[in-house]
Symmetry: C2
Subunit: 200 residues, 2 copies
């Protein structure tokens, strides 16, 4: 297959976003991460802050209700539908790297999407977060665990797959191997994978 869309799901602190960025740079294709939030905001009329936090407050979503558009459904549903629309239309434009936002599920009808999950040991995740954010995050381990639980709950609620289960993805890479190694591995997948069966 010549080219594809790459979706990256990741554990918090695994460096998955950085890997996605490196892959996009190497392939010279668009990288959608925070920029996605702006587009979803434009599409939905919801604030970027709310969209960013939607993954973290799924169960409390209803308490944020208040806009006209949400009279029929919780606001997190509005966010999900808006992000699905934005992601689908980006995919139409050609190869790109999309981080998070259940993009693998949104695009599951296509055969040109490579779904990747990035994870890491808890010790390396703590070290990465501490080195990047210094002491701004208190109790890093609890913070990481909470973040992942919320991401998993959001993903498992909105998709028919399981977050962090290898069977939901084509490729799962442990970034303890190095962010550059993971970048090379994903590039190799991008250049070699085919959608179908090769028996031997």
């Amino acid at each position: 297959m010549a080219g594809c869309i790459i979706t990256i799901s990741r554990e918090y602190g695994s460096g998955g976003r950085i890997i996605g960025q490196k892959v996009a740079e190497r392939l010279n294709i668009p990288f959608y991460d925070r920029g996605l939030v702006e587009m979803i905001s434009e599409k939905s009329g919801l604030s970027e802050k709310f969209i960013n936090e939607a993954e973290l407050y799924r169960e409390d979503a209803i308490k944020y209700a208040g806009y006209d558009v949400s009279l029929q459904m919780p606001l997190t549903h509005v966010v999900f539908h808006a992000e699905a629309e934005v992601i689908s239309s980006l995919a139409e434009k050609g190869d790109c790297v999309i981080v998070g936002r259940c993009a693998d599920y949104v695009l599951q009808g296509r055969d040109d999407v490579l779904n990747v999950f990035v994870y890491a040991s808890i010790s390396n995740r703590i070290e990465r977060i501490t080195q990047i954010y210094g002491d701004k995050v208190k109790n890093v381990k609890a913070f990481i665990t909470r973040y992942d639980k919320d991401r998993a709950a959001y993903y498992d609620y909105y998709t028919d797959k399981k977050w962090g289960d290898m069977r939901s993805y084509h490729l799962s890479v442990n970034s303890d191997m190095g962010l550059d190694a993971c970048t090379e591995i994903i590039l190799t997948a991008y250049n070699n994978w085919k959608d179908g069966i090769q028996v031997i």
Copy 2:
């Protein structure tokens, strides 16, 4: 890291063994799969047939007891200890590919071991088994499921990790991408991974 030992765990029918063989051929390093069974047989005094089936009869192991060597422990423990010794001594000899046999766990004290898991969609596994074995296997889906359950039970019993959970491995590849693509991906990991943290 220049070179390493590659362990491959795999779902039944995923083509993981074939991928391991392709990787070993490309790297021109030894490939241990069925040959391992001979060595374990020599070490333990148990038959190759019993060793092959040990993964499948863990819970019934005691009923096979009868050799002197097993008076103190079930025969599957004898198999496990023998395979641990064989695998450790093979690893001392240099780079190689080892399929199955909890090799990732046996070698977990080393920092030059790349652990890979190969899986595939159930439809592609059924098709692969059917194409390779024809109609010799009845009810392929049930056979596959049973085989994996037994492998998982054996692995989870003898190790402190979870079979088929990405966090037990460095890399998990879905062979629906193609066996050759998976081979290239593993070769890329072999050539690029490092044991340690790369923050950004």
